[in-house]
């Protein structure tokens, strides 16, 4: 699954560690989501969407 997390994070001048603190996960988790190695669960996807004040679909999209 592709996502815009890296861009959204960079727009706010946040490091992966900064975003990880906001989401209460490890920096490795943020890195894995950004690189598409880990698809977040629905609860985490909702937390991410709320943090950036966007809908889940605006951040994540499938590769079809």
């Amino acid at each position: 699954m592709k996502n815009r997390l890296k861009v959204l994070r960079a727009e706010r001048d946040w490091s992966q560690a900064d975003l990880a603190v906001h989401l209460d996960v490890s920096r490795q988790a943020v890195n894995a989501i950004e690189t598409g190695k880990h698809d977040p669960s629905l609860p985490l996807a909702f937390r991410i969407a709320r943090l950036f004040d966007m809908s889940i679909e605006e951040i994540f999209h499938d590769e079809v």
Binding site: K6, V7, R9, A10, E11, R12, D13, W14, S15, Q16, A17, D18, A20, V21, L23, D24, V25, S26, R27, Q28, A29, N31, A32, I33, H38, P40, S41, L44
Partner: protein, 216 residues
């Protein structure tokens, strides 16, 4: 302009690559340090037997001591230090739990390994004293599962996923390897299984999958 260039972020080596590189350097440096200390001790011993150092001996020893100090300094620089980057409370808490599990496992292994003289080891099947066995079993059966459960409750979903994937792979490794070994033993091709060696092999499989999923 942001301070984090997204095109640069992708070029940063993975955590796994950094950890593997540091581990390789640390192990290599550690072996070199032990080797140099041994060489210095051996050279000094021979020197004393031959009536003390002359100028050449002193120079050789000085060079060896310098090389040893350089290696030791390199290892000290390599030693991981605290990072300034922010960290979620959950991550700190999970790390403390992991340290507690290791803090339980290492003394337990040492106690069992040294329990019955020089012939015994962690993977020995030799008898041990009942009191020691009772302490080890109580620690492993009560504190072990409790700490593991507390740790699993604290890690984030990415880490929990890596842990679960490692566990599934390890169980499959156990299911396929153990019966094959059992049959091979009955056919006289392999010695009888040592359960602790099987446990070690399964744990290694688990750790490799977990590390790969978490850091690479």
């Amino acid at each position: 302009m942001t301070k984090y260039d997204v095109t640069e972020i992708a070029k940063v080596p993975s955590d796994g690559a950094i950890i593997v590189k540091r581990a390789a350097l640390g192990i290599g440096g550690g072996i070199a340090l032990v080797f140099m200390v041994g060489v210095i001790a051996g050279y000094s011993g021979v020197m004393i037997e031959h009536g003390g150092p002359d100028l050449t001996d002193a120079a050789i020893l000085g060079v060896m001591a310098l090389v040893t100090l350089v290696i030791a300094y390199g290892l000290w620089r390599l030693w991981p230090r605290g990072s300034d980057e922010p960290e979620a409370p959950r991550v700190k808490s999970a790390r403390m739990m992991l340290a507690a599990v290791l803090g339980l496992s290492i003394p337990l292994g040492i106690i069992l390994g040294m329990s019955d003289g020089a012939g015994s080891s962690l993977f020995s099947n030799a008898p041990i004293r009942p009191a020691l066995a009772a302490i080890a079993i109580a620690l492993w059966l009560i504190a072990g599962p409790l700490l593991s459960w507390l740790w699993l409750k604290r890690v984030d979903e990415h880490e929990a996923g890596a842990y679960r994937e490692g566990a599934v792979t390890a169980v499959h490794a156990y299911m396929f390897v153990t019966p094959a070994w059992w049959i091979a033993t009955r056919a006289g091709w392999l010695p009888a299984q040592n359960p602790m060696l099987v446990l070690l092999a399964v744990s290694i499989v688990w750790s490799i999958v977990w590390f790969n999923r978490r850091y690479l």
